[in-house]
Point group: C2
Chain length 346, copies 2
DNA sequence: CTGAAAGCGCTTACAG
DNA sequence: CTGAAAGCGCTTACAG
């Protein structure tokens, strides 16, 4: 059916070993033989099958990326960083996504295994047992923003604590003494860390510390809207709100504007994530930026290193730095907008 | 090093054939033997290697997706649609991106070949020869928004012509008789089709037809800005502007607002692509939406069909429908905003 | 119901 | 410099 190395060997009157040598640029093959083989390859339009090669050399030259989801710009940025870096190291990328529950992620691990030389896993719910049970110990793995306390895996996490601390400190430096937080979902690690950063910043900045200032939220725009309405109704209104993500901040902004309250004059506002839209709302929204692209780059570099060193080195946990981007909503001047990317039109 | 089927066979005191049968749920194996094998699998923590299987059954159970780029929400939406549908059909997804020039795309084709049972290619620059030269004739391929006129490949294309025609007709229905276009890059097929739709709509609607109304652009925000400035300076100003994509429309909007001209009262504005940001600018921007997710779904379904029928069926070219989304910038009421997706916080 | 053997498409010591 | 052979990890007719 398909042309294989055997067909080429026959046509060129050599052994398949010789064909393989020519294909792999082995320099121990005579010029004349090489020519004959290359001629046969051309005539037959022979296309080597990577599967055979991989099985033989025991390397697939591919890395895998397991994502919980593919919604929004965040994951595409992760993929972009990973793909770029992987290509730079001559590795392919296998992507697998939409694994919300444990069952699905187990299937994903089982299916990707054997097809890749290393694996980057991003999943809020994964635990060490699931990994151990479904992946050979010899497969290098890097965990991206997972919540795993085991030290036997490399991991990269966003520095949520520090980002929140910095943002809230920034608000305090603007003179705010009473700062509300709209929290993320309970049991969500990102949310917990951001809350922790908020609290510590209040303490460090000697600002008002009061559980009354903490409103529940679930990272959705709607929950931000609701929380802001509640906050505005309180007898003593805070002078600033820190939303644990941008979606909630944008929801809050709607509620504040509907109430006829001025941002940032009457109440300052800040979010977290720095999604592209925050540059477009009015006033533009202060936020905390994570270099998502960097995240992918770092993960791949670490993984490639693990592959090269045959997974035998000291595993490390890395906190990826974040950066406060001040904008109008906290009273800072609006920085030049980052031009967004074209979409369909390529 | 790694546990293989041989180790299991030895431990369970059976042949590797039997182990294989147990693994594949063959029902011709005795209950007792099956138990023994399963026990051995568990004790050894045996994880089958997919590579051997693929080579043997001559199927990889994976499909490939080649993208020109990974910037922005468009490609992540494509990936999402493709991945979802692929998973539904029990196929894996191999993604390969950032192939701007021909050399790179050839490498991509060569590397992905053999690893997938079918391939979706999205590339503005690819031609039939490149495909033929680098992929076996037996490999099912679906071209996504490529510009290939060969009938030997399945293809899906966005109906740029129709979308532009509809949008411009919509403007004409608003009473506009003099409508400018900010064109996309020369030699870009999407841009050409949108221009063609614009022109035909003017003729069909008996609106003013004049090459003076056509301004150059290159799909960038900056080019839209420049074009709008030029348009506003003309002695006879058009009453509406159709930008060939949203990026340019947003650039144009900045220029118009800087000039103190009201949108849509003094000049109407519309774009193309319906990127998320158009809902956030003020006034919200009328645009043409492509269901990108559908695009991915359609592509995979077609590909799976081709794989099942061993690539032996009539190839077809499909134009994917688009939809006008009227908003404030053309004088229509603002529709409810679609809530955007959370990003980092998962 | 089970096993020995051939085969999938390659690579690579080993001999010559 | 070249080839025969073994091997990578599986599956699956074929015999028994």
């Amino acid at each position: 059916m398909s042309i294989t190395i055997k067909d080429v060997a026959k046509k060129a009157n050599v052994s398949i070993a010789t064909v393989s040598r020519v294909l792999n640029n082995s320099n121990i093959v005579e010029e004349d033989t090489k020519k004959r083989v290359q001629e046969a390859v051309r005539e037959l339009v022979y296309l080597p099958n990577n599967l055979g090669r991989s099985l033989s050399i025991k390397r697939t030259e591919a890395i895998g990326l397991i994502l919980p989801d593919l919604f929004g710009e965040f994951f595409s940025e992760v993929i972009r960083g990973v793909d770029q870096t992987a290509q730079h190291h001559k590795y392919h990328l296998l992507v697998s996504s939409s694994h919300d529950d444990r069952k699905e992620i187990e299937t994903a691990l089982q299916m990707i295994r054997g097809r890749v030389d290393g694996l980057i896993i991003m999943s809020a719910d994964i635990d060490v047992q699931t990994i151990n049970k479904n992946l050979p110990k010899s497969l290098p793995v890097v965990l991206l923003n997972c919540q795993v306390d085991d030290t036997s895996y490399d991991s990269l996490n966003i520095n949520n604590y520090y980002g929140a601390h910095q943002m809230v400190s920034h608000l305090i430096n603007h003179g705010h003494k009473s700062i509300s937080i709209i929290k993320g979902p309970v049991n969500n690690h990102d949310a917990e860390e951001r809350l922790r950063g908020y609290r510590q910043a209040l303490r460090d900045g000697k600002a008002q510390f009061d559980s009354e200032l903490e409103s529940p939220g679930d990272f959705s725009e709607a929950s931000g809207y609701d929380a802001a309405r509640t906050i505005l109704k309180k007898k003593t209104r805070p002078s600033a709100i820190f939303a644990a993500n941008d979606s909630m901040a944008i929801g809050a902004l709607s509620a504040i504007q509907e109430a006829g309250v001025q941002v940032p004059e009457e109440i300052a506002l800040a979010g977290f994530d720095d999604i592209p839209i925050v540059q477009f709302v009015k006033p533009s929204l202060s936020s905390v930026r994570v270099s998502i692209n960097d995240l992918g780059v770092l993960a791949v570099n670490r993984l490639i290193q693990a592959i090269r060193e045959k997974n035998k080195f000291i595993k490390q946990k890395t906190l990826v730095p974040v950066e406060v981007i001040p904008r109008e909503s906290c009273g800072c001047p609006k920085p030049p907008r980052i031009p967004f990317y074209r979409t369909i039109s390529n």
